[in-house]
């Protein structure tokens, strides 16, 4: 199968962009260009003349790309990938992974499909990594807040760490609130009272 497709990736995060290029490269596509943003996309499209454009579903630049795809005067215009809904399963998989794609020159589905499958797989890994990273960061900052709140209770009530934790947990349960919310209120209140 021919792999000489020109692929344009719109992605501002350099690490993420590199990972996508790597995946495509491993899959045998070497003609890949990355744009950090969709501004001046019109000019860039003429310059690079890509066959496929890959862009994160959450990227606000999509609206700009959408507009360009509607401008009828453009000779080779990008068309949103999933317009014909021929492959519902793949469309759902792409959306799930957070990927949207535009095809420029009316390529045949069998030439596009492998590119998309590769991109979908990589986007899935990237979004899983991102959400794990976010969760880890949040857990760490929650942990710090809870520790600070515990310290405040220990000082104010002269109790041990375990008792301070139990007091906070009981207050949370009594008021139907999350432990982290109670801790947050304590820390905020303490900041004001200082």
């Amino acid at each position: 199968m021919s792999k000489n497709l020109k692929i344009l990736v719109v992605e501002s995060n350099r690490t993420k962009a590199k990972k996508i290029i790597d995946a495509l490269f491993e899959g045998g596509w070497s003609d890949v260009v990355v744009l950090a943003s969709a501004s001046a996309l019109d000019r860039n499209l003429r310059e690079h003349n890509p066959d496929i454009i890959l862009i994160d579903l959450a990227n606000p630049d999509r609206d700009t790309l959408e507009h360009i795809s509607l401008a009828s005067q453009a000779k080779s215009r990008p068309v949103a990938m999933f317009v014909d809904h021929t492959d519902e399963e793949m469309t759902q998989a792409a959306i799930e992974a957070g990927l949207s794609a535009y095809v420029v020159n009316g390529l045949q589905m069998e030439r596009i499909k492998p590119v998309l499958e590769t991109a979908i797989a990589r986007f899935r890994i990237l979004s899983k990594m991102q959400s794990e990273l976010d969760a880890a960061k949040l857990a760490l900052s929650d942990r710090k807040t809870i520790d600070r709140a515990k310290g405040l209770i220990m000082r104010a009530r002269g109790v041990c760490e375990e008792d301070a934790y139990q007091l906070m947990r009981k207050s949370a349960m009594d008021h139907g609130r999350k432990l982290i919310d109670v801790a947050n209120s304590l820390v905020t209140a303490a900041d004001i009272l200082q």
Binding site: S39, D61, D63, T64, S69, V83, I95
Partner: protein
Amino acid sequence: MTKTPIECGYLPLVDSAPLIIAKELPFAAEEGLDLSLVRQPSWSALRDMIAMGRLHFAHVLSPMPIAMSLGLGGMPAKIDALMVLSANGTVIGVSPALDRTMRKGGWSNSFDNPVETAAALFGAGEVPLRVGVPFPFSMHRMLLEYWLRSDPNYLQDKIEIITVPPPQMAQAVRDGDLDVFCVGEPWGTVAVQHSDATLILPSNSIWQFAPEKVLAARHDWVEDNPKTCHAMIRAIYKAAKWLGQSENIPLAAEILARSHHLALPDHAIDPALTGLITTKIGEAPKQNDRFMTFYGGAANFPWRSQGRWIARQLVQLTSQDHSDFDSIAQACFRSDLFRAALSPMGIDLPCTSEKVEGALQHPTAVASTKGEMILGPDGFFDGACFDITP
């Protein structure tokens, strides 16, 4: 009683207020709905999510359900507009450079004169004018093009329409990428504050009652879940009614600023809710009545004639025309469902589901299900009427 879990997508704009109020106050819970609001990064993303059935409802630009149902743009799908969420509430602005040129030509900014302002725009001699709008299928673009086309100096190649996401509009003005823009609040106010832009017209100076955002849902899902749709319409209607009472505005601004749904400070939210608009840094704010309308004059009623007006503009914008455009468009605006949801509550509704768009230059009494109700004004700046009953 267990509540029905419902997910509604939206973009963080002041006119998503009815959804936020319905959730926070909590009108949605009263109707048995466990409403989650899901913020989206772009109109395209929101459209894809609703088309693929990943959201039950969505706060969308009023032309979007029609464009999708007509198969225009990416991800076509049969989408209904269940009610109008807000009328107007967008602003047109110009770059600092264009403002200076227009003033040199003798124009002054009264913020309510479309005819003189269009003449000043084309008189400034910059061609083509680069005009930013948030989405190709938006009331912003329709009103802008409707307005500019009316000027005797208008030529199609004198303007270049560019799509820029609302939160990036101010930056695009500052970078010198745009001469003119039309955007929903708070992003016009942000462009004044951060990019020294000048706001030249509110959208209601072009059309006094332009449906701006609508509540959308997939047609097949609507058919399968009429009760949930009725409950949602009632919840939003109550929220809109609450927002329509001027004494609630300070509290509304507080709720919108504090809730995590918008992530905007209150000084960015206030102008749209009060209609007190600062059009240029250093100038006193100008009062604009009915700047953004959530309630009153049957504001939430999805008039089938509004759908047809939008379809007509879509024909012009896309140079596509099909014999069934008109019937598809009017069927998108579900006045039947709106009636079915609100009639049992004893709410007064218009007798007809179509009106002559633009006919009411002043508030006017018309026949309603319970006698008489006040509609309008809904005039166009050029006095045009759209009597498109077949």
